[in-house]
């Protein structure tokens, strides 16, 4: 039943073999085939552009007012690629290996190897589109380093890499819009998948301006709807990021892979109060240049700059000398939590640690700049001034953002940071072709589960989104559509469209008619609190069991007592939110069930029952070397299947960053 369709042959030959043998659709037939792409982030915009260029008729959807505003726009630090431009020993194999290891051996070898292979094409593509990556004075591309690796392979555009990559993909897609190959529907939200004879054949979407439900046919449907970190209410995701598209697909038969795998990012601006609506990331690239520390003394009251060097605990450098501040995210997050829980936290809430740039401002950047400018024996002040200029160039917008939010100047005082929900490795289960368990329904980007196992390495989500959209789906979808060329567009008066629309309409009506007393927001906050406390950075059996009961009760209360103001046939942001939160209330429970099943620690999933003496995550490969694949059986019943992970090339070991 679960066939990942991994091509036979040697790992490094699989993708080439696949491309050499998959079925093709000729240009005349492509024009007759319609593809729906839900989402215009890096995955969706790149897929829509590439498929449009091939000649398919594409309809693309996003809920924002413009495709360019998808959440990918907010990605900061960079994108990985195995170019080895730094001549520091990088290769396709090394990127593959780092990703598998970083993912704590819970990702598929074949998918990850393909990702590493196409990573090099992505950079070429983006440069050709005019993405203004950072460059050296010699005119060539520059790199920085990210966590979980020992090479410099991350391409970037200051702290706005996602923005620049997305604008590249957006422009490529708008070019196809102008050419008539892509039709764009912004301010539209997909609310169901339409199935005909066991295949995905369209969607029901709501025009968010008029409130009307609309039907769209496609020979295939490609979901690129992003991650579901907002289950936790507070996360680094954009406010609108949601799980509705994948959740609806799940309920129509698409399996859900590893739902509990969530990434908690170590460096975010801490919560300041109850009003908090989201958390802001401070890019991982800052860990390159910043050192993380807490005071050695508990309940420290001195200001950061008044604490002398020898009274600071650079705990990452102490615990992990080989990787230091650049350990993977899950390790860094847990270490921060450990220090704060032990009473060494800083700031008013004591739920924060310092990220300090002074050392590198002076030593790394200040000194290089001084020597470049021929200043001998520069004093401390000169070093700081010169260092600041370089840091401004590298990270300017991030430092400004920190100052706007906190009112503190991070050039002068260390940043205060704390872990926050950031990314979901879990997502719809897909096979090697990125097809879900529903025929003709694909899933790309953060929305699928495929490449990051139990923990994603920094700068690899952008890589995956663009790999999926530009370089994988154009081949794999052809392999399916080649057999669909005889299928005429199905009129949306078909009974399956009728039924799907009626179902959506009924639910919206129910939501509006409850007219209870609690706002959608308050339910979302309560769900987030349960998830963060019981399915967050540390999980245990008791907590997870409680969470499942609590979420069920909360969901019941929601359907009895939520208050959604406004009307159906109008712009109604509260209704949009209600639809999304209703789905989060179901997905949250599944995440807890999955976390409960996995009685091992791996990557971002830390089960307190399974740790080493030093408090490191302890995997159990004998029992849990599988992807958990959840099948929705109707009426809130779930069944779990297992996709075994067979490693042919890499020998899993306990990760060691010491």
């Amino acid at each position: 039943m679960l066939d990942a369709k991994i091509p036979a042959g040697k790992l490094e030959e699989k993708w080439n073999n696949y491309k050499g043998h998959c079925k093709l659709v000729n240009p005349a037939n492509k024009r007759k085939l319609e593809i729906i792409v839900v989402g215009t982030g890096l995955a969706g915009a790149s897929a829509a552009a590439a498929l449009g260029e091939l000649g398919y008729k594409v309809k693309a959807f996003c809920f924002q007012d413009s495709a360019r505003r998808a959440h990918s726009i907010a990605a900061q630090g960079g994108i990985n690629a195995a170019k080895n431009y730094q001549n520091d020993g990088d290769s396709v194999f090394r990127l593959f290996y780092d990703t598998i290891k970083g993912g704590d051996y819970r990702a598929r070898e074949a998918n990850v190897h393909r990702l590493a292979e196409v990573s090099v094409n992505i950079i070429d593509q983006c440069v050709a589109q005019g993405v203004p990556f950072a460059r050296e004075y010699g005119g060539l591309l520059n790199n920085r380093s990210f966590g979980g690796t020992q090479v410099k392979r991350t391409f970037y555009a200051a702290g706005q890499t996602g923005q620049q990559l997305l604008i590249g993909a957006y422009q490529a897609m708008e070019r196809q819009v102008a050419l008539g190959n892509v039709e764009m529907f912004s301010r539209h939200e997909m609310l169901d998948v339409v199935m005909i004879d066991g295949k995905a054949r369209g969607i029901i979407a709501r025009d968010l301006v008029s409130g009307k439900l609309e039907r769209y046919f496609g020979h295939a449907v490609v979901l690129c709807s992003g991650g579901y970190g907002n289950v936790f209410y507070l996360s680094t995701n954009a406010m609108g990021s949601n799980a509705t598209a994948v959740w609806k697909a799940h309920k129509k038969g698409a399996f859900f892979g590893n739902p509990c795998m969530t990434q908690i990012h170590p460096t975010c601006i801490p919560v300041s109060g109850d009003h908090q609506s989201k958390l802001t990331l401070m890019s991982e690239s800052l860990r390159n240049d910043g050192r993380i520390w807490v005071p050695k003394q508990k309940e420290e009251t001195r200001r950061a700059n008044d604490i002398p060097e020898e009274e600071r605990d650079y705990y990452l450098e102490r615990r992990y000398p080989a990787f230091g501040n650049l350990v993977p995210r899950d390790v860094a997050s847990r270490a921060a939590k450990e220090r704060c829980d032990a009473g060494y936290g800083v700031g008013t809430t004591k739920q924060a640690v310092y990220l300090d740039f002074k050392y590198n401002l002076i030593n790394k950047y200040g000194r290089t700049e001084a020597s470049k400018q021929g200043i001998h024996n520069p004093d401390q002040e000169t070093l700081i001034r010169l260092g600041k200029e370089v840091v401004k160039e590298e990270y300017g917008n991030l430092f400004d953002m920190y100052e706007k939010i906190t009112g503190e100047n991070p050039y002068e005082v260390p940043m205060r940071i704390y872990p926050a929900v950031h990314y979901t490795m879990g997502g719809l289960w897909v096979d090697y072709e990125l097809m879900t368990s529903v025929k003709g329904l694909y899933c790309l980007g953060e929305a699928n589960f495929s490449d990051h196992g139990a923990n994603r390495l920094g700068a690899s989500a952008l890589m995956q989104g663009l790999a999926d959209g530009y370089f994988v789906i154009p081949y794999t979808i052809g392999n399916y559509l080649a057999d669909e060329i005889a299928v005429k567009p199905i009129p949306t008066t078909h009974e399956a469209f009728e039924a799907a629309e009626a179902h959506v309409s009924e639910r919206i009506n129910t939501l509006l008619n409850i007219q209870g007393t609690e706002s959608v927001e308050s339910f979302h906050k309560r769900l987030g609190k349960i998830m963060w406390e019981k399915c967050g950075m540390a999980r245990n059996e008791k907590g997870l069991k409680e969470a499942i009961v609590e979420i069920k009760a909360l969901r019941e209360e929601f359907w009895k007592n939520v208050r959604v103001p406004g009307e159906i046939n109008e712009m109604n942001p509260e209704l949009d939110k209600a639809n999304r939160v209703a789905d989060f209330l179901e997905l949250g429970e599944l995440m807890c069930m999955d976390a409960l099943d996995r009685r091992e620690s791996c990557g971002g999933h830390f089960r307190e029952e399974s740790q080493t003496e030093e408090g490191e995550a302890l995997r159990h490969d004998d029992e849990f070397m599988y992807v958990s694949v959840w099948n929705y059986k109707g009426d809130e019943r779930m069944e779990m299947l297992k996709e075994p992970l067979n490693y042919e090339v890499i020998q899993p070991t306990q990760r060691n960053y010491k």
């Binding site: 552009a49 590439a50 260029e53 924002q64 007012d65 413009s66 360019r68 505003r69 959440h71 726009i73 907010a74 170019k83 431009y85 094409n121 950079i123 070429d124 593509q125 983006c126 440069v127 050709a128 589109q129 005019g130 203004p132 990556f133 050296e136 010699g138 005119g139 060539l140 555009a157 200051a158 706005q160 604008i167 957006y170 422009q171 708008e174 070019r175 301006v209 954009a238 406010m239 609108g240 109060g273 009003h275 908090q276 609506s277 989201k278 802001t280 990331l281 953002m401 706007k404 939010i405 906190t406 009112g407 530009y470 370089f471 706002s519 927001e521 103001p565 406004g566 109008e570 712009m571």
Partner: protein, 254 residues
């Protein structure tokens, strides 16, 4: 940073949809923390309104990190409010003090019709990009990234222009509702790179033609756009656009 709480009066534009006429509504909001963002203050107000059984205020927002360009409030007569180089979502309440009255309106421009309350339709910007805001390369048929060295100064300038978030504050600030700063940022981003060279002329002509078609006004160099742009896009880009346009026009005449 010292934190404080404040009580505020808000005068907010309410408009049911694009067809109806709108008007200001006045709201009182208490105990606003100086640590809140401006949009978090709106969240709190909306929660209050829902509890009172009233209609919440519709406004556009998404990333809340100053990068997606969705948020778009005209605050006390200035797009994105009082802080320089800052989007509405990054504006924080410590910019205000106890007892203040804050007036909030949507962008106002013929080419940006109001959809509801503070939300406007900015799809004209997408159509301007469709007219030529790209480099025509198909996926997969490219050369090695490092085969095109680019002088760092131009790369940096191009990046600075590409930082535009398409928010439309420049249009909202301009008495003529001109879109020149937005347009010039895109033309500069691409014209400063060797990859963009080939389509340079056609791009300038086609994009300018689309801007005119969308009903944006003409540029009279008042500089109001640059003053409010949250990404500090420089007005020198408009001069570059004019040069590009002129050169393209001359070439086309031949």
């Amino acid at each position: 940073m010292e934190h404080y709480n404040m009580n505020l009066t808000l005068k907010v534009w309410k408009q049911k949809n694009s067809q109806s006429a709108g008007s200001f509504e006045t709201y009182q909001i208490k105990e606003v923390s100086s640590e809140m963002s401006f949009l978090e203050m709106f969240d709190v107000l909306n929660e209050q309104l829902i509890h009172e059984g009233k209609e919440p205020i519709a406004f556009d927002h998404d990333c809340r990190e100053g990068i997606c360009g969705t948020c778009s409030m005209y605050i006390n007569g200035r797009p994105h409010g009082p802080w320089h180089g800052t989007t509405t979502c990054q504006l924080h309440m410590r910019a205000f003090k106890d007892g203040d009255t804050i007036v909030v309106e949507p962008w106002r421009a013929k080419a940006f019709p109001v959809i509801k309350d503070l939300m406007v339709d900015r799809s004209a910007f997408d159509r301007i990009i469709q007219a030529g805001g790209y480099i025509s390369v198909n996926t997969g048929v490219t050369i090695d990234g490092n085969a095109i060295p680019i002088n760092r100064e131009n790369a940096d300038k191009s990046f600075a222009a590409a930082a535009c978030i398409g928010c439309g504050a420049c249009v909202a600030a301009c008495k003529n509702s001109s879109a020149m700063l937005f347009l010039s940022a895109k033309v500069s981003h691409l014209a400063l790179l060797p990859q963009g060279e080939i389509e340079r002329k056609r791009r300038a002509l086609d994009m300018v033609a689309q801007v005119d078609k969308e009903g944006f006004g003409s540029c009279t160099n008042t500089g109001a756009c640059e003053a409010v742009c949250p990404k500090e896009i420089e007005i020198t880009n408009i001069a570059r656009l004019n040069r590009e346009y002129l050169a393209a026009g001359l070439a086309a005449d031949k």
